[in-house]
Symmetry: C2
């Protein structure tokens, strides 16, 4: 029983509180969608249990809807994170090219 | 030798061509930063070899610089993907709240 005391807790508190937020759940879902998009099945098999999200991960369609995105034939070939990145850049790049 | 023929190739072509692009490398780096931020070390231990990116993954600071982001004390508590998501939303939400 003494040996158990110094073990790292199995609950990842920082991640748990992150996933409890709407955006945290979305971001975690987007990471899973990336893994799924590229058939990174070994990574996904560890990601699900390690995040404790295996049963709660949303399908791409659901994420698209919650993010208010619209898919085209072009966007379907890339993970949703690519779409998010290019949208975020539309906002930041004008500032940075002005230097 | 016959048995080998029907095996899935070990090279993930779709991912490989994605990572060959600048944005693909950034997105993959952001996923790794997410895993690293939350100490998802088991997932990361599989992600590196499965993406063949183990030795090429960039540190958070490098990603911040390449993405043209600026960190605050607040943003440091979250993975970079949260920052990217909130920036992308600044662009999309006005349209969607106007419905």
């Amino acid at each position: 029983q003494e040996r158990v005391q110094n073990k790292t807790p199995l609950v990842n508190k920082h991640l748990k509180s992150f996933i409890a937020t709407k955006d945290g759940q979305l971001v975690t879902g987007l990471v899973a969608e990336f893994l799924s998009h590229f058939n990174l099945n070994y990574t996904l098999a560890v990601f699900g249990p390690e995040t404790n999200m295996a049963s709660e991960l949303e399908a791409r369609d659901e994420l698209v809807q919650r993010l208010g995105l619209s898919e085209t034939e072009e966007t379907k070939n890339a993970p949703l994170l690519s779409l998010i990145l290019s949208q975020s850049r539309k906002l930041t790049s004008p500032k940075h090219t002005a230097q």
